[in-house]
Amino acid sequence: MISDEIEKLKKEIWSSFEKIEDLSQLESFRIKYLGKKGKITSFLKLLKDLPLEEKKLLGKELNELKDELEERLREKEREILFKEEDKDLGLDLTLPGRSLSIGTLHPLTQIIDELCQIFSRLGFEVVTGPEIETEYYNFTALNIPDWHPARDMQATFYLKNGALLRTHTSPMQIRAMLERKPPLRIVAPGKVYRCDADIRHSPMFHQIEGLMVDRNVSFSDLKGVLIYFAKEVFGEKTKVRFRPSYFPFTEPSLEMDIECVICKGRGCRVCGSAGWLEILGAGMVHPEVFKAVNYDTEIWQGFAFGLGIERIAMIKYGIDDIRMFFENHLLFLQSFK
């Protein structure tokens, strides 16, 4: 009986199908059963001599077998091809990749960015100004007349034409107030210069100056803003303290210390047993300064603050020699990625 033959064929097909392992076996299998002279084709040819009913029935069965087989072979082929790709393990994956190196921004640039962003969040506008200044903007307008001993606090580089290299970013207070009408909020980062050079002092360094002028901005507000700043930079748990101090252009004046980040207040080489690190100077804008820019002190009051960028960086990163910032050793720069 031909139907028995077909049953036998089926068994044969599926058992040899299971044995297919690679593409060449798959191809010979396909030829053997599905090719023009393949077994299924030969069977189909045999059918034409059978009675119609039987022809129909067996024909359907054979065609279904053919379809299923074709489907299974496609799957099998995909399976083999997938496995095929996993076969080559010849690459040495222990070799390093073709890497590209990205550059770095100078650590001081990064700190300046960070501080500007902090104050931008509080609505302070970032401004810049000249590094070569006049006595007027650098001293006189800031309530430091030329006979004032406070000038000793800042050893000044003079130029041969009588101008000077600004000793602090505070002249920007004057320039910003002259250019704007109150109320205002500015921060001014930039280079400043003093005749001083050792491992703690560089003749060129960076400061950032802040100024807020408004109708009711008070000493308490100054404290609030500075505490916010300290926590943003040094962490939420940072402890701060405020000490009275003196700057000719602020009254009252203060200095802010943070608890030493290295010894946590116990005293160490960096903070010199005090347990505190001086971070910035600030105060309420002195009426003489407002007078210099024609702001009515009956209406306007404000606060100003200034801090050294290098100092913040040295504390944050535990750097003990300020000169490293300006040597620009590539390995030093790259450690701030």
């Binding site: 070799l95 390093p96 073709r98 190196s101 990205i102 550059g103 770095t104 921004l105 001081l108 640039t109 960015d113 931008s120 609505g123 970032v126 590094e131 070569i132 200044e133 006049t134 006979w147 001993p149 000793d152 580089f157 003079y158 041969k160 034409n161 009588g162 290299l165 909020r185 210069y193 005749c195 003749p203 060129m204 807020m212 408004d214 901005v217 008070s218 000493f219 308490s220 507000d221 404290k223 609030g224 500075l226 916010y228 303290r241 405020f242 000490r243 009275p244 101090s245 000719p248 009254e251 009252p252 002195h286 009426p287 009051q301 910032f325 620009n328 050793h329 590539l330 390995l331 720069l333």
Partner: protein, 800 residues
């Protein structure tokens, strides 16, 4: 200002430890920089035990002692021949330590004998006035231990940083008074013997001729004094404050200066011509040989104390040598004055002299302290210098000082501090700084004479906040309108620029704004080059930082050198910073520049590629990427005019016909001067011009939709003469106005066999695209054939 705790205690009862006193002062605005222990600072002054003594024949006046410090045994030479004997425990200073007499101890040798330190007298150890007697320590002392520990002697000195507004704190008494203000601990009253205000008639004449320079001039004559060494307690106190004892008269003036803050000056009465003391401005070119041995020439702005004939003292600053007190002085005139702080400061600066006295006058002294100081010194002179006679006090005080009346409305305190300090507290505090009256709206304060720093209501508010305690004032957040301006376009541009360069692998450096003028010379600039017209510092720290940079290149090369000598063999750096050019007025032109530098290897040693050095195409490529990202068209015109660049590997950079910078390889000869044995490429761009352009482009920027239809490309490969530059061909292509052409690029250049010598094979690829349809092959072929033909004709090209 050094404040010995023992001296401070004479004026105020300290109820807490020195550390706590320091804390109170610091938090009150008088910063204590250091808590010093001067005896410990001397170094190793220890007990040693004498083991053996011998007196060699060849050492006449010396004995050699073998001693032990408990660990080691060594020899010491001593002149105290008679006093030393075995088993004695004595005071000893090790090499490198200091004695009370400011002597540094060293290892000494006499003939073949060595002295590893010295035995101390009580005086040398700073314990008593005994100079000759050896400091002998108790028998049970252990060798090696500090003599001060053994004797239980200790002194603590607070080192204060006094802010320039608080001249009143430049004395022991002043600090005591401040502690009283901050704590309300009781101040011990100052007692000077009343009789001292009397005396014989003053045997001379005093006159103030320059009342602008001198506000008050007081003085007194003392007869038949004995100039000698000061008693030990005076010497010790001066020493604790860092001053050297000289003789009793000078020491007394210094002592009173430290104690009360009143500078004094003693004159040798015999040397005062005409017994006349004049306070006047100096004559032009008047000269005086001063105590530091320098003869100075004065101007009319200087204030001097003169006699009938000559200047004797540069007022408030330093005395002349001739009229000073010496061993032979018998009679003296003692000056106590109040000079104009501005005049003193100007003179002190003009002549570059700062003294304890000028320092205090500049910061303003207490007008009332003039007489106290004089009386205190009188007391000491009578006691210590054994003056036989003394005159009345002469006090020339033409315009007595009166403090301003400051009105302080309560409302202002609250508005300023953002906090209301209780009214009773305010009143209590204000009473500590001046005579205080309550008014309708607040207070009226007349500050005490020593608080001349208090002038305006804000000064009083600071006193209130300070004495109440900054820490006790709450912290709040300001209320303000929300409006604020973002960073300027220029700052954003700068940020964009550095972010691009960072992602291209460059590291940002910061170099000094001042440079060595020689570094510009090294660049071989032409004489008329604008960069040689630099701004010079009047007082540079060093010649290598003496002029303001006119280019970033010297700083970048220095940085390259620094790294090269630290085994960095590949460097990609940039700097964004100002350069400085003089203008017609005081301020400079400060344009922002970008400088970039490549040095050495373009890559690292790798398994996948060969090591190669940077070349000009790296530099050009980086700059092209930069400009492309900024969307700015820059012309790279070959052959820069910069004399320090290799002509054949350099460009001048143009923006719309304006030169904005340059880029290229630095000449080897210049690198040699820096000892740089590698290749260096640099570029510099004026960012001010670039920024203007960038701002305009940003404004006009519109984004196009990416193309819908595919592009197609055609290549032209041909052989041309080697000298023909690709740029020439591309420029020529531009003139052809080719339809649908999107992009042209040279994608291959080949020289060498089989291409004949002197020629090269090139491939140029043309991309075509239509916006509204897919181009047909035939259509593109037709266009391309014509293009190829023109190129072949124009450049006499041969087919490959």
């Amino acid at each position: 200002m050094k404040i010995p705790i023992s001296w401070l205690s004479e004026f105020i009862e300290l109820k807490v430890s020195p550390e706590e006193v320091a804390e109170i002062l610091t938090m009150g605005g008088v910063e204590v920089e250091n808590i010093e222990r001067p005896y410990e600072n001397l170094g190793e002054l220890i007990a040693v035990k004498i083991l053996e003594v011998y007196k060699p024949e060849d050492l006449k006046d010396l004995a050699v002692c073998k001693v032990t410090d408990g660990k080691e045994t060594f020899t010491v030479l001593t002149t105290a021949k008679e006093q030393v004997k075995p088993n004695l425990i004595v005071g000893f200073a090790k090499p490198e330590s200091l004695t009370f007499g400011f002597e540094k101890v060293e290892i000494k040798s006499v003939k073949n004998y060595k002295s590893y330190g010295m035995f101390l007298s009580s005086y040398e150890a700073g314990i008593s006035e005994e100079k000759e007697k050896l400091l002998i320590l108790p028998e049970n002392s252990s060798p090696g231990e500090s003599i001060y520990k053994i004797l239980g002697i200790s002194e603590i000195v607070l080192d204060l940083a006094i802010t320039p507004n608080r001249g009143d704190l430049l004395s022991i008494f002043g600090v005591a008074r401040e502690l009283h203000t901050l704590t309300s601990w009781e101040l011990k009253p100052l007692n000077f013997e009343k009789s001292l205000s009397l005396g014989e008639k003053f045997p001379g004449k005093i006159e103030i001729l320059d009342p602008d320079g001198c506000f008050r001039y007081a003085g007194r004559f003392f007869g038949k004094i004995k100039v000698k060494e000061s008693p030990f307690y005076i010497q010790k106190r001066l020493w604790l404050c860092g001053l050297r004892p000289i003789n009793n008269i000078v020491d007394i003036t210094n002592y009173v200066l430290l104690e009360l803050g009143q500078p004094l000056h003693a004159f040798d009465w015999r040397k005062i011509e005409g017994k006349t003391i004049l306070v006047r401005s100096a004559y032009p070119k008047e000269r005086l040989l001063m105590l530091d041995g320098i003869e100075r020439e004065f101007t009319e702005e200087d204030l001097v104390i003169a006699d009938a004939k000559k200047a004797m003292v540069l007022a408030g600053i330093m005395g002349g040598e001739e009229t000073g007190v010496s061993e032979t002085t018998e009679d003296i005139f003692l000056e106590s004055a109040w000079f104009n702080p501005k005049r003193i400061r100007k003179s002190s600066q003009r002549h570059k002299i700062t003294t304890e006295s000028s320092y205090r006058f500049e910061r303003n002294i207490d007008p009332e302290g003039v007489i106290w100081g004089l009386l205190r010194a009188s007391e000491l002179i009578l006691k210590i210098a054994e003056a036989q006679t003394y005159s009345e006090v002469i006090d020339v005080y033409p315009k007595p000082f009166s403090s301003p009346k400051i009105n302080l409305p309560t409302q202002k305190i609250v508005k300023y501090l953002g906090f209301s300090v209780p009214s009773e507290e305010v009143e209590k505090i204000l009473n500590k700084v001046g005579e205080t009256k309550k008014t309708d709206h607040g207070f009226q304060v007349v500050p005490f004479s020593y608080r001349q720093d208090l002038k305006i209501p804000e000064d009083l508010i600071e006193e209130i906040a300070r004495i109440y305690g900054y820490e006790r004032i709450p912290s709040t957040f300001p209320e303000s309108i929300l409006y604020c301006k973002g960073p300027s376009k220029k700052l954003e541009f700068e940020r964009k620029l550095r972010d691009i360069l960072k992602s291209l692998g460059f590291s940002k450096v910061i170099t000094y704004s001042f440079i060595d003028p020689k570094s510009l010379e090294k660049l071989n600039l032409r004489k008329e080059d604008r960069r040689l017209n630099f701004i010079e510092l009047a007082n540079p720290l060093t010649s290598i930082q003496s002029v303001m940079r006119t280019s970033l290149i010297p700083g970048l090369i220095e940085t390259a050198c620094f790294n090269f000598f630290r085994e960095i063999n590949s460097l990609k750096i940039f700097e964004i910073g100002k350069v400085f050019f003089p203008t017609n007025n005081l301020l400079a032109d400060e344009p922002l520049y970008l400088g970039i530098l490549l040095m050495g290897n373009a890559n690292k040693e790798n398994w996948y590629e060969n090591l190669r050095k940077f070349d000009i195409y790296d530099l050009k490529g980086y700059l092209e990427s930069l400009f492309k990202t900024l969307r700015i068209n820059i012309d790279f015109k070959p052959y820069s005019s910069e004399p320090f660049l290799k002509k054949g590997a350099s460009f001048d950079l143009y923006l719309n016909g304006e030169k904005i910078g340059f880029a290229g390889e630095i000449k080897s000869l210049i690198l040699k001067e820096f000892d740089l044995k590698t290749c260096v490429f640099v570029g510099e761009i004026n960012l001010e011009i670039l920024f203007e352009k960038f701002e305009r482009i940003e404004k006009e920027l519109t984004i196009k939709r990416p193309p819908k239809y595919p592009s197609t490309f055609r290549d032209v490969t041909c052989i041309i003469k080697k000298e023909i530059k690709i740029g020439e061909i591309l420029d020529f292509v531009k003139t052809l106005s080719i339809p649908y052409l999107e992009k042209v690029k040279c994608i291959k250049i080949y020289e060498g066999p089989p291409i004949p010598e002197g020629e090269k094979s090139i491939t140029i690829r043309f991309w075509y695209r239509a916006e509204d349809r897919t181009l047909k092959d035939e259509e593109v072929n037709d266009i391309q054939d014509a293009v190829a033909k023109s190129i072949f004709n124009k450049f006499s090209a041969k087919p490959r």
